[in-house]
């Protein structure tokens, strides 16, 4: 139960800057998820916080204590590793009790805490087994259990679900969320999977090339991406981007990509008019491109058409890989009742309320 603060933290490995001027304040009891592609510095940030790597510059605080030079064992943290890192020569019980034994916790108390944690995770019947005799999911739970019994101020998770199969991952995701509510402790979680981030986090920190791109609640991150990278990283399939120009004629504002033209409805035009005549990057999510005949009501509709390149049936929806007139591919998530074949022309209704424009030079959001 503690806040965590990164203040202008740098980590350099030789010439490579793994973490570049990271400043984050994580509140007590928050569930913060670091997300980003591999090599973006998210795991390094976590390891800096754990004390497994030394900070090159800046400072990290746990609570109001600067922990730059505090060894991992004295930071009051617990960590769940990607490989689970269970001690192979110890039973599940001993794995969980190890940290407490080192702290000379009384035996009865160790016993009680291990039993409680095991009950919480449903691994009571495994306490006598060795890690070798456990399945991946069981090992993962033991690793979490080992962290719980210590009752640390901050929990660190380093991609704890990436070694599980898809079904188990969904299940465990929910369990970790529940655990967070139950323990009411600060969780800091690293993943490359934006779905994990979206489903569990109270706030998400998106990183790229060692630089923090945006930190926000999942919904804000989805609705208002700060730049092209965040827009493309959050959401699946990713947001479509087009190099475009905002054209104003007869008092009407239009997005012109060269491949298609989209009228900007009046509500949106108020915000965008300032950029009229300028080149922009136009961003629209696949879920905001509808087949015209099945377009939902109450959207800021703007119409266009495109040629169908490939269709992917998902059952509850269809992913359409579309081709604009200038042969640029983009994706739409449309109603499953849509009947089209490859090379058909399809009429589309774009919900401009959720469209984004970005500065083509800095790639940051304009409106």
């Amino acid at each position: 139960m503690s806040s965590v603060t990164f203040e202008h933290v740098y980590k350099r490995f030789g010439d490579v800057v793994a973490v570049n001027d990271l400043s984050i304040e994580v509140e007590d009891k928050e569930f913060l998820v670091f997300v980003g592609p591999s090599g973006c510095g998210k795991t390094t940030s976590l390891r800096l916080l754990a004390g497994l790597e030394e900070i090159s510059d800046g400072q990290i605080l746990i609570g109001d204590r600067i922990v730059n030079d505090v060894p991992p064992k004295d930071r009051d943290i617990a960590m769940v590793f990607q490989s689970y890192a269970l001690y192979p020569h110890m039973s599940v019980y001993d794995n969980m009790a190890f940290g407490l034994k080192l702290r000379k916790t009384p035996k009865s108390q160790i016993d009680e805490r291990v039993k409680v944690a095991a009950g919480l995770l449903g691994i009571e019947q495994l306490l006598d087994r060795k890690p070798k005799q456990l399945s991946g999911g069981q090992r993962q739970r033991v690793a979490v259990g080992r962290a719980i019994v210590r009752e640390p101020a901050v929990f660190l998770f380093d991609e704890p679900l990436s070694n599980l199969d898809a079904k188990l991952r969904v299940e465990t995701r929910a369990n970790i969320s529940k655990l967070h509510k139950r323990l009411a402790t600060t969780f800091i979680y690293v993943t490359h999977d934006q779905v994990e981030a979206m489903t569990m986090a109270s706030r998400i920190a998106v990183m790229k090339d060692g630089i923090l791109q945006q930190i926000d609640s999942p919904q804000d991150l989805y609705d208002n991406p700060a730049n092209v990278f965040v827009g493309g990283f959050i959401g699946s399939p990713s947001m479509n981007f087009f190099d475009a120009t905002l054209v104003e004629s007869d008092g009407k504002l239009e997005i012109n990509t060269g491949g298609f033209r989209l009228e900007v409805p009046a509500e949106k035009a108020k915000e965008w008019r300032a950029f009229a005549g300028k080149p922009v990057i136009f961003g629209i999510r696949p879920e905001d491109i509808h087949a015209k005949q099945f377009a939902p009501p109450n959207i800021l509709e703007s119409d266009m058409d495109a040629k169908v390149d490939v269709t992917e049936l998902m059952g509850n929806e269809i992913f359409l890989y579309l081709m604009s007139k200038d042969n640029k591919q983009f994706i739409a998530r449309v109603d499953p009742r849509v009947r089209v074949s490859n090379d058909d022309k399809i009429d589309l209704a774009v919900n401009m309320a959720n469209a984004h424009i970005f500065d083509p030079k800095t790639e940051t959001s304009l409106a």
Partner: protein, 371 residues
């Protein structure tokens, strides 16, 4: 490629069967015969020929290497002619057979012969029962030898393992890992005899030659000491010999430990550190248990080595001054004192001592799936 395991029944009598299979039968007999004749001729050529040495050398290589290959090929082709069932049964022996035969001839047979001789008198003529064995366990010289072997295990094997482990751990964290490991491993390239000679000079009484005495006389001002022979420090003069083995075997232990340590997943050590372990606790409670299998294997290997130790003692003291070990006693009794029965009994006792350690060692290797 499916072939019936049973020969199809041939119509007609055995005469007709023979005529049908005559060619097959002929090649089956002729090829091995031809091979045998060629090799037979080669043997006599090599033994009796007056050809230039270089020609003989070349023929010997071709005869030797080619002969082995030919034997394998011929035997294999013969087995191929059998049905699938029999081929599967016999084929492994074609390849393992020669190695097993050589092992039996050079190892098992001599061992059994030694066992037999150990029951005979000094000339290997009259049967004396177990009296040689009684002598082994009642002679003062042998007592000293047993005691010394225990010293070798207690100090030599232990020091090698501990020192090897220490270097492996420290080197693992050093920037100079490769240099440090090379230096420690280097003595492994020296033979036991060579090492004995080198250390003989270190212990030399003349302080102008012996490094140890140069330091000792220089520091204390006392007279130089004959370290290996000094009766006043017996039995600890053995330690000066044991140092030589430690010097050689630490490198061996270190290389295996180093590999094992590198096999420990980094995340497990990090988990330990986050869990609250100090570096020393990480070492004793995580690293050591993790590499326990290797530690046991290395220890038993070095214990076997210490039990069989011979060359160092033979070169440095010849087993005098109370430094004899089982193997040097064997040598002295069998060859110097010409007591075949007694010597053989010592050899058998040594063999029996080594066997349990050996079995344990093999089991460990099995557990680690080294085989």
């Amino acid at each position: 490629m499916q072939r019936s395991s049973e020969k199809p029944r041939q119509p007609g009598g055995p005469v007709q069967w023979l005529s049908v299979n005559a060619i097959g039968l002929f090649t089956a007999l002729a090829i091995p015969l031809a091979t045998f004749l060629v090799l037979y001729w080669g043997f006599f050529f090599l033994r009796d020929s007056d050809a230039p040495k270089i020609v003989i050398a070349i023929v010997a290589i071709v005869w030797g290497v080619g002969g082995v290959a030919a034997l394998y090929l011929v035997a294999n082709s013969l087995v191929d002619r059998l049905g699938d069932t029999w081929r599967a049964r016999i084929q492994p022996f074609i390849f393992v057979g020669p190695a097993v035969a050589i092992l039996l001839w050079y190892l098992a047979v001599p061992s059994l012969r030694t066992l037999w001789i150990s029951l005979l008198d000094r000339n290997g003529v009259d049967f004396v029962g177990l009296s040689n064995y009684i002598a082994v366990f009642t002679t003062r010289n042998m007592f000293t030898a047993f005691r010394n072997n225990i010293l070798w295990i207690l100090f030599g094997a232990t020091a090698s393992v501990i020192f090897g482990l220490l270097v492996a751990i420290l080197a693992d964290r050093s920037r100079f890992e490769n240099i440090a490991k090379s230096v420690i491993f280097m003595p492994m390239a020296i033979s036991m005899v060579g090492a004995g000679v080198i250390w003989n000079m270190m212990y030399e009484v003349n302080p102008n030659v012996g490094l140890l005495n140069a330091i000792y006389t220089g520091v204390t001002g006392n007279n130089p000491v004959a370290w290996k022979a000094a009766a006043e420090i017996a039995p600890w003069n053995n330690l000066f010999l044991i140092v030589v083995m430690v010097w050689l075997q630490s490198g061996f232990a270190m290389v295996l430990f180093s590999a094992a340590i590198k096999g420990i997943p980094g995340e497990i050590l990090e988990a330990g550190r986050v869990d609250g372990a100090t570096e020393i606790q990480v070492f004793f409670r995580i690293m050591i248990p993790y590499i326990m299998g290797t530690i046991i294997t290395v220890s038993t290997t070095i214990i076997i080595f210490s039990l069989k130790i011979f060359d160092v003692v033979q070169v440095m003291t010849g087993g005098q001054f109370g430094t004899q070990v089982i193997a040097t006693q064997y040598y002295r009794e069998y060859f110097t004192n010409q007591n075949a029965g007694f010597g053989s009994a010592i050899a058998i006792v040594l063999l029996i001592t080594v066997i349990p350690v050996m079995i344990y060692n093999l089991r460990q290797l099995n557990d680690q799936e080294a085989f």
